[in-house]
């Protein structure tokens, strides 16, 4: 008798628990945000879980971006994909070709106004097939960091920039070089863009080996040769904080690192990149993608979360905690964000509205991961003394091979 009662009680309990579990839709969010960035991400996720009781979001840190990509690719074949994850545009292109992601926009129920609230340059970066496949989340732009003591008035044009770099080096007897050069793909891209070039044309023909690319490399090498720049190994903020360099180009998301490295020894600020033949503001950072392995219910829940995550209040919270940008116009206009900018004048360039007008970004194609590696190696070779023409010709050949492979393979 007693045991029957117990069994009944257990059954009732089971039912009660399973129904309460059913009530909440569980979604997983894989991200690569460590340290303070991770805290801000976790905070927003927890807040979302607290303010409503239909959806539970589990945010899972999956290491650095490269680890996250590896894990995502592994999960596609094993059928263990998360509901949503942070992705770079070139990953999105690959995933789109594999057919493993769904357009988030289809589930978000955006009004025209809400859709247009996402900053235009980010919309471009996130569009496939005319749809916002992914939604911008942690976007940054690259700005010029400069030492205000040595450079009271930052350069507006490339010419002024070369001039000031040289002057700083001469004035300090080479103790502080004008500019810090880290031979990265991003820095090459900046010089390439400002000289009017880019990696590819619209039909994916290689163009970086043209006169603009050659000029970009010559300018960078020239700055090292005439002593106005210092070659840097590692993150630039350290050398900047130790007054080894007076300017560098870096991500807005790195501003907290710069603050730490400077440690109040001098005043510094940020400004948009100096204009060459044309102005330019590189935009980077990741977006959120929705995976098609999730159920319809989960997809809708995830879309709700992403919409909430990028609303004005939350995008501003994330931006002010991390140095990333608000992803919407309403975020940029938000009084809290404006107040934050006023309190942090050295961060002004981060939200320079003009920059959004002439923003550029890295190619959003599946083969970009491979091309990046090739171009990075090419730039490094030039810095190690290889002939520029030869390096460019070799780089072009290898990148073309990678692009051909991408286009001919049906993934």
């Amino acid at each position: 008798m007693r045991s029957t009662k117990l069994v009944l009680l257990a059954l009732v309990l089971c039912l009660a628990f399973s129904s309460s579990a059913l009530a909440k839709v569980h979604i997983t969010f894989w991200h690569a945000m460590g340290a303070e960035l991770g805290e801000a991400t976790e905070y927003l996720t927890q807040k979302f879980n607290e303010i409503q009781d239909e959806i539970f979001v589990e945010a899972i840190y999956q290491g650095r971006y490269s680890d996250l990509n590896t894990k995502l690719v592994a999960s596609f074949s094993a059928g263990t994909s998360p509901t949503i994850a942070q992705v770079y545009e070139n990953w999105t292109d690959a995933y789109y070709r594999y057919g493993v992601i769904d357009a988030l926009e289809d589930y978000m129920d955006l009004t025209e106004e809400e859709r247009n609230d996402y900053i235009e340059v980010f919309r471009h970066m996130n569009t496939w097939d005319g749809k916002l496949y992914t939604i911008p989340f942690n976007k940054s732009n690259w700005v010029m960091y400069y030492n205000k003591e040595l450079i009271p008035e930052p350069p507006k044009t490339l010419e002024e920039f070369f001039q000031i770099s040289k002057e700083v080096s001469e004035k300090t007897g080479g103790e502080t070089k004008g500019f810090g050069i880290r031979p990265t793909l991003e820095l090459f891209h900046a010089f390439l863009w400002l000289n009017g070039g880019d990696f590819f044309d619209e039909d994916l023909n290689v163009t970086f080996d043209g006169p603009e690319g050659k000029k970009a490399l010559e300018q960078m090498i020239g700055m090292l040769e005439d002593g106005s720049a210092l070659l840097i190994d590692g993150y630039e903020d350290g050398a900047f904080g130790d007054r080894m360099i007076a300017m560098y180009i870096g991500s807005s998301a790195g501003i907290t690192y710069a603050e730490n490295s400077v440690g109040g020894k001098f005043e510094f600020s940020t400004t948009p990149l100096p204009a060459g033949i044309r102005p330019g503001a590189p935009f980077m950072g990741t977006n959120i993608a929705l995976f098609d392995s999730a159920s319809e219910e989960e997809k809708l829940a995830a879309a709700k979360f992403v919409k909430w995550l990028t609303n004005a209040e939350n995008t501003v919270y994330f931006a002010t905690k991390t140095g990333y940008l608000p992803v919407t116009y309403s975020g940029l206009e938000h009084p809290e964000f404006k107040a934050w900018l006023e309190a942090n004048p050295h961060k002004a360039a981060i939200a320079n509205l003009e920059a959004f007008e002439y923003g550029y970004w890295q190619p959003k194609i599946a083969a970009w991961e491979e091309c990046r590696g090739i171009i990075y190696e090419m730039v490094t070779k030039v810095f190690l003394g290889e002939d520029i023409d030869m390096a460019l010709a070799e780089g072009r050949m290898l990148v073309e091979e990678a692009i051909d492979a991408m286009l001919s393979e049906r993934f």
Binding site: R64, D242, A253, N260
Partner: protein, 289 residues
């Protein structure tokens, strides 16, 4: 001593001088080597106590202005390190113990037994060492998913309990122990298994210590496998925690160095403990007598 006493006065003086010079250079080289080896560790320790702006300087600064002891606290709290430590210890210790058992049995068979296809099998074993781990990551992940082992200790331990490298190392060591000893023991009525336990293994302490140390370090440092096979912090290990301090746009070196210091301390202790084994128990000495 005996030789020097027999030498005439002036020759002895010359002998001492050359002996001294040799020693002097030997020690100079050793000290220089030791300094080079220890410098990164000293730098790690000193950086772990620095303020962020003291880290990347034009000139190496060996001592922080004011030691920032709170770096350790901040680093420890940045990620669930106590859980990570527990996991790292558990996984490394279990992997190490199981592996020693499997490897010594397999190596014993390869070294001392005769069976059909022994050499082919051994070459096949070695062949698996040529395949880089990254290539097998995704197939292995799928296997683990099919076993239902994702986010469990099984995935973190069982695939790592057999190491071809250890089998190879132990086999080579076992082969250097004279076969006559094996035959004599068998003649005296010692079983094959008993021979392994009572003779082979005690004679192979240095090799066993090496194998154990390699396994422990390998397991302790394993990063990508752990990250891919787990989802919850409660299953993760120290190296995953270390990635918290590095991002695409910058690194918090002072915290990273503090975390690295407490992450490597157990390895250092284990090495000091096992180091004795490297010196002790050299197999051939028992036979020379």
């Amino acid at each position: 001593m005996a030789r020097t006493e027999m030498l005439p006065e002036n020759q002895m003086w010359r002998y001492r001088l050359s002996h001294f010079t040799k020693r002097f250079f030997l020690y100079a080289v050793l000290i220089a080597g030791a300094l080079i080896m220890i410098a990164p560790f000293v730098w790690m320790l000193s950086s772990s106590l620095k303020a962020p702006h003291e880290i990347s300087l034009k000139y190496i600064k060996w001592l922080p202005e004011t030691p920032q002891w709170q770096n350790y606290k901040i680093a420890w709290e940045a990620a669930p390190f106590s859980t990570y430590f527990r996991n790292s210890f558990f996984i490394a210790a279990v992997c190490m113990l199981i592996e020693v058992v499997f490897s010594s049995l397999a190596a014993y068979a390869f070294a001392k037994m005769n069976f059909f296809g022994k050499n082919v099998l051994f070459v096949l074993f070695l062949g698996t060492m040529m395949i880089p781990g990254e290539v097998m990551l995704i197939p292995n992940y799928i296997t683990m998913v099919n076993f239902g082992w994702i986010d469990t200790y099984y995935a973190l331990i069982i695939p790592w309990t057999v190491s071809v490298f250890s089998i190879f190392l132990l086999r080579q060591f076992f082969m250097s122990i004279p076969h006559e000893l094996f035959e004599a023991a068998l003649l005296d009525g010692c079983g094959k298994f008993k021979y392994l336990i009572t003779v082979m293994l005690p004679l192979s302490k240095p090799a066993l210590a090496t194998v154990m140390l390699f396994k422990f370090i390998g397991s302790w440092n394993a990063f990508l496998w752990v990250l891919i096979m787990t989802n919850t912090p409660s299953m993760r290990t120290i190296p995953v925690g270390l990635t918290y301090f590095v991002s695409d746009v910058g690194a918090q070196y002072n915290y990273l160095m503090a975390a690295s210091t407490f992450a490597m301390a157990p390895i250092l202790i284990l090495f000091l403990l096992l180091q004795k084994q490297f010196i002790q128990g050299i197999a051939r000495t028992g036979l020379k007598g």
